[in-house]
Subunit: 455 residues, 2 copies
């Protein structure tokens, strides 16, 4: 994997021959560290089959740019060899008129397959699937099937799952795994080694999370994508699913952090694109948070009378935000793993209410102790009514932490119900929501306990 040392050969052709003994994943890693121009030149010098293998790897980041930069006939030759799901992915990002030109250069059948894949929205089974799978009619023998696999193996993404079709209707009837196939006698019918249960399938519009869940639940190496008439359109393989799980995970964390998801490595994103991805949510949150100023303006008379109340505002409010952020992250994952469904929202609410009260009470006691110690030790003078102030802080903490836990746990349900990703901007969103409500709770509690004394 010390591909970097190979760099010493400056001639692309010399470089290519030295790369020859490396694993394709290492070559991709190496090319990812090069500029588009260098990568294009290296790939242009590769034998066709090898260049196809490199371009076929989803982790190769500059595939679109390289295809665009290559001479058109060379690009078309590579595209023809690549797997159809990958070609569709690449073409999706190439601009017109180049896109049409490349499409036209492909043979009729490949073009039809790719046009079909391009009709599925991103992140659906249809867009993730490849059309290169092995299927045989159910009246074939084990030997016929094995011969067929040997013939087409090179051009198929996986041969470990073989899809058995009804000979007349061509509907998917059974699945045979290669590990079971090699048990069959040569002249046995293929159905003698088929799995005993109905094929596990997904619909073309299933989203990538559902596909991942199905593959994970049934420990599959590939899941067939089947239309409503029972015909198999393609397969999604386990490696595509892992890539999509990792991508979703990154997007989830970024959304939770309160920004638009970005689809490139941190150091590769341009400065202005970075600002664009972050400024949007930041401004939305800032505008919402302005409500805290408005709320405080309402209570400015109380503030003027009891300036000591201001000292605890950040402390009390942040505790609500923190408990809300805990509850939110718990529910985001529980929803993602389907441990909890949309209809379970009230079961969650019923749990979070006592949880919030207990957590708030724990913090409340600490807060009261803090004030008492500072007062008695003479570190700070909270005034004549410091005991009432301490009770105010304690009670406000119970109210705000409870509100934070409730709001934090229910926000992901609300976002999901409205059709958003439950992770969207959740932590900062909750903090903002709790800040605004927290001020109202805080001053209301203060009025209750301190009215007639310092208020």
């Amino acid at each position: 994997m010390n591909v970097d040392r190979i760099l010493q050969g400056t001639e692309p052709s010399a470089l290519v021959s030295r790369l020859g003994r490396e694993h394709v994943a290492d070559i991709v890693e190496f090319l990812n560290s090069k500029s588009v121009e260098e990568a294009t030149e290296i790939i242009a010098h590769m034998p066709l089959a090898w260049g196809v293998e490199v371009l076929d790897q989803p982790p190769f980041r500059n595939a679109c740019e390289v295809i665009e930069a290559l001479p058109e006939d060379k690009a078309a030759a590579f595209l023809e060899g690549m797997s159809s799901d990958r070609v569709a992915d690449v073409l999706r990002w190439i601009e017109e008129p180049k896109k049409s030109a490349l499409r036209e250069a492909l043979p009729q059948d490949v073009r039809a397959a790719i046009d079909h894949l391009l009709t599925y929205p991103e992140n659906t089974a249809g867009a993730l699937m490849t059309t290169e799978f092995v299927s045989v009619p159910s009246d074939w023998s084990v030997k016929q099937t094995l011969d067929h696999i040997r013939e087409v193996e090179r051009t198929r993404e996986t041969v470990y799952a073989i899809f058995v079709l009804h000979p007349a209707s061509r509907r998917l009837t059974n699945v045979v795994t290669l590990r079971r196939l090699i048990f069959g006698g040569p002249d046995d019918g293929i159905l003698t080694v088929a799995q005993p249960y109905a094929p596990i399938t997904v619909a073309p519009n299933a989203d990538s999370e559902d596909v991942a869940r199905t593959i994970r639940k049934y420990d599959l190496l590939a899941v067939p994508v089947v239309d409503t008439t029972g015909h198999i359109l393609g397969i999604v393989t386990v490696d595509d699913v892992i890539d999509s799980i990792i991508t979703e995970q990154t997007e989830e964390v970024q959304r939770m952090g309160g920004m638009e998801a970005i689809d490139a490595p941190y150091l590769d994103i341009g400065f202005f694109q970075m600002i664009k991805k972050r400024a949007g949510w930041l401004c939305v949150l800032f505008l919402s948070e302005m409500l805290t100023t408005s709320a405080m303006q309402v209570f400015s008379d109380e503030l003027e009378k009891a300036i000591v109340l201001a000292l605890f505002i950040p402390l009390v409010m942040s505790s609500g935000g923190n408990s809300g952020s805990q509850a939110t992250s718990l529910i985001i994952r529980a929803l993602a793993l389907q441990e909890v469904r949309l209809r379970d929202w009230w079961r969650v609410a019923v749990r979070e209410l006592p949880t919030g009260i207990v957590l708030g009470a724990i913090l409340g006691v600490i807060g009261v102790i803090r004030i008492a110690v500072w007062q008695e030790a003479g570190i700070f003078d909270y005034g004549e009514y410091w005991k009432l102030l301490a009770v105010t802080i304690g009670a406000a903490l119970i109210g705000i932490v409870t509100f934070g836990s409730m709001a934090g746990s229910l926000l992901p349900f609300a976002l999901k119900r409205l059709g958003f990703d439950p992770a969207t901007a959740s932590a900062p969103f909750i903090a903002t929501l709790v800040d605004v409500t927290g001020i109202v709770i805080y001053f209301s509690v203060a009025w209750l306990f301190l009215h007639g004394t310092i208020l």
Copy 2:
């Protein structure tokens, strides 16, 4: 998958026969919805091979409890049939003296394999691996290998990767995939169909994230775990890796949300365990956030003179927290995907400085406009020096957002450097850090602009 309907048969034996036609994953889902007692009774009525298959599924949550509840001879029979990695996982959680009793009941060779697996710490390749793989000496022919696979297939987790050992030293020399094996002539040597490059391997102490990264990078179905002498100890399969990716993802999100990771579904956790997992970090954050009160006590004279400053404290501070939470979530993922290494911290800092300044300036401009509009429209009177106040808010926002972005991006590096998961409590942690520092920045900026007027 309408397993629930099967429930109508109340006799466990009748139930078992009705479950017969379901996929094992669906049976597991069904058993997960039952109590330990019910699950135990159903499994006790299953034929041995079938019970083994169910207990072998990692998603089956009550496997330990069921094994504990079964009569000892029955439990031992099931354990003997199960795959060694799963047995080790189950035994790990069973208490003494039951654990030793079950262990003693296993045949010598199985016991040795499991004892060995139990020596590896959780979340390492050694703990994830299974010892049920296919290996053959390199002087075997294709036919010998195929016959061997047919013989052992039932007891192997995967037969899609075949590991070729040196006939004398038994060191791992090559890997053959089943899809290539079926191409070989029966009398060809096994090496004629071997992969052309050195086997991709992991060390037994590699952590599960590294294993996942290797499997993903090289699109493997299984990766061999090899010790320092070059001997293969076991294999980690792609389905185990997917499970471990999903678990890590859940823990990452929960840590980011500022709580200890929990390893059970949300609705299954007991009330007091939930409090325990959340109260710890909540108290730590509360105690840190108390510094905001201390900081504000220092500035209490300024506050008394210019109560108007208090109105903007939540707004200004939360903006720092939000920008910090964006930066943190970006870097957590970039570190997890190894897009950024520990040594790249200064490259990140150099990027976040201008990003923070621009984002702060955008919010600053909005803040200034807000004050001007409210003042001019007569919604609120910020006093004679409102223009200076507006400049103060704008400048403080630039300072605090910049500080938030810098601190947020560098915190994951610091946590990682100290040996923690970079996701640990990051969003609330950053909010707290920025709150405390934000108060100091805010009042310093205020003093700079307002000294001699209202301060």
